[in-house]
């Protein structure tokens, strides 16, 4: 285990905002935005795996995309290697892209169906000039072996592979440019359990081997628990809790995290966890609730929650929570919901 002092910050996201304008229903309506990510700040340390979890639409992918500048963020800064990549020119950004790579969810959509594996990997190497042309073929085979595929795969097209194998190819492509940080956006969500395990193991192995840093996006808390060092929980474009994995899973401090954890069915019939059932659905990010965004579904919400937005506070070491009542609710012992509001 690394100690605190050893940790080096690789990526720092500060006050990131990503608003998408939405179509209006009437010409008289004021311009509306989806506040997909609304003012979030966090850091990713070198060599660690930071996971982002949350329900669908909470802004996980948007965060990842903003960091990669696949969409230009509305506001905020993203520091990588001392540079704010939001300000980089297109050309500078292209050069930097070798360091930041991404692995996507859909094994069917993430490879160009008209390129052979060789072309896919070769193009990556050529764009980033990570490997000289004559050496490319050897390197490709090496990469394929690394992700568990035989070299003969090179001349094939993506549709000749199974989902898990395609995911391996996606990983090989990311590795082809010797990245430092890989953002895995739901990289295993579409896979069956048995295949998912293969990929998760592979990712872990590669991380160790190449000192990679992962930003791991997922909605599956079990997977997150397996793979991460630290976990960040998002709700409606906001960070609600961020902490070391163990701390978060064993002693969550935000009522949402708590509810989320308790909602997950455990594959063990003898475990009967007390469940906090949340009412209703996630509200629309177009007009998110005022104050604490979770107050509409929170069993503990008070008037204050409706009006005052909670700050992200460090309540335990390396454990940040944005809830007005975090201390009272789950610390030190998990508490039951109060009977009256």
């Amino acid at each position: 285990m690394k100690t605190l002092e050893e940790k080096k910050i690789l990526l720092e996201v500060s006050n990131l905002k990503q608003y998408f304008s939405v179509k209006k229903d009437s010409i008289f309506q004021p311009k509306a935005y989806v506040k997909a990510v609304d003012d979030i700040s966090f850091v990713v340390n070198e060599g660690e795996t930071l996971s982002i979890v949350g329900e669908s639409g909470c802004g996980k992918s948007t965060t990842g995309r903003a960091i990669l500048r696949l969409d230009d963020p509305t506001d905020g800064k993203v520091f990588y290697a001392g540079k704010n990549i939001v300000d980089l020119s297109k050309k500078e950004m292209r050069e930097l892209r070798g360091d930041l790579q991404v692995i996507f969810q859909d094994p069917f959509a993430s490879l160009n169906p008209r390129q052979t594996i060789k072309q896919i990997l070769g193009e990556a190497m050529t764009i980033q000039k990570s490997v000289a042309k004559p050496l490319q073929r050897d390197r490709m085979i090496e990469l394929l072996n690394l992700v568990g595929l035989p070299g003969e795969a090179l001349d094939r097209y993506p549709h000749e592979f199974s989902g898990g194998q395609r995911q391996r190819i996606g990983i090989a492509r990311a590795l082809a440019v010797d990245p430092k940080l890989i953002i895995c956006d739901e990289a295993v969500s579409a896979l069956d359990v048995s295949i998912q395990a293969q990929i998760l193991n592979l990712l872990k192995k590669l991380q160790k081997q190449f000192q990679l840093t992962f930003l791991f996006i997922s909605h599956d808390l079990s997977v997150v628990r397996y793979i991460s060092d630290r976990v960040m929980v998002m709700y409606l474009g906001k960070i609600v809790e961020i902490s070391d994995k163990k701390d978060l899973f064993d002693a969550p401090m935000h009522p949402y995290t708590k509810a989320l954890l308790s909602s997950i069915p455990v594959p063990n019939p003898s475990v009967k966890n007390e469940r906090i059932l949340l009412k209703g659905d996630v509200p629309s990010p177009i007009n998110p609730p005022s104050g604490c965004r979770f107050h509409t579904r929170c069993p503990f919400a008070t008037e204050r929650c409706k009006t005052e937005e909670p700050a992200l506070r460090e309540l335990r070491e390396n454990h940040f929570v944005s809830c007005h009542y975090a201390e009272d609710l789950f610390s030190p012992e998990p508490l039951l919901p109060p009977t009256t509001k």
């Binding site: 359990v193 048995s194 293969q198 397996y226 909602s263 455990v266 594959p267 063990n268 949340l278 659905d281």
Partner: protein
Amino acid sequence: MTGQNETILEVKDLKTYFYTKRGVSKAVDGIDFSLRKGETLGIVGESGCGKSITSLSILRLIPTPPGKIEGGQVLFKGRDLVSLPDNEMRKIRGNEISMIFQEPMTSLNPVIPVGEQIAEAIRLHQKMNKKEARAKAVDMLKLVGIPSPEKRAKQEPFQLSGGMRQRVMIAMALSCNPEVLIADEPTTALDVTIQAQILELIKDLQAKLGMGVIMITHDLGVVAETCNTVAVMYAGNIVEHAPTQNLFDEPKHPYTRGLLASLPKINEDKEELYTIEGSVPSSYSMPQGCRFASRCPFAESVCLQKQPELLEQPDGSKVRCWMYSDQWTGAKPQEEVFS
């Protein structure tokens, strides 16, 4: 609660094949199970193993062509649904056996108000006029916990969220008090917090209405939480069928064991996950022997030659594996392999 143990649905050697340009896909290849009143049977398995086709075959909803039920029986209260005339079958659908589908987004007709879609099922099977049926539909919406049901009944599906649509589906399925409810991955498309709500709802309603439920899912967690018995499917077969507790405490089939072992768990940390190497054989070219043999760490020559039967075990579970037969010569599996 009389006749709690009464079997209402029995599937015997059901075979459903698809005849396509690429060949014959034996999607479901000889399946047996039974369901009793008030029981929840879980069917789990990886994608493409034939879970949905099984459920669709029961209600005879397979797209024909290319699909065709090639053999077997589906006995519902003694009647074989496979050979039932179409009009008889229609009387059963939605009335005595109903179904909830995975995709709440696409399973409702986009241009008909949800209330009407529920009322349609009611009017088809119960002697009610339009008005009564509509009132009943609103009641059903209330039952599944949709706020302001009158208003919602008049809305069209696109105005509802995913969770609400799934509730509508449930309301529709339950509106005629069916004896069997088939839920085909009812929560896969939903977020965990919503999933919890829906599962809770189904459990509640089952307790209230006393129907038999077939819960199809690939999530072992869901199974553990909701089912009395579980059938594990692999490549068109049931490989293990056991009471839930047994299955999780003492999985028998190497596939089931592998599956459980490869699952990351929310409540424990692991350095490395067990992996089942290889992948599922193509449904167009099934191996002649045990379908799991190529991925099985224990496979012997017999496994490659002949498909094993579903063998009854002393604890009441059934396993399709040579290891549990008398012919087995190889080593008995060791638990450590799957850690």
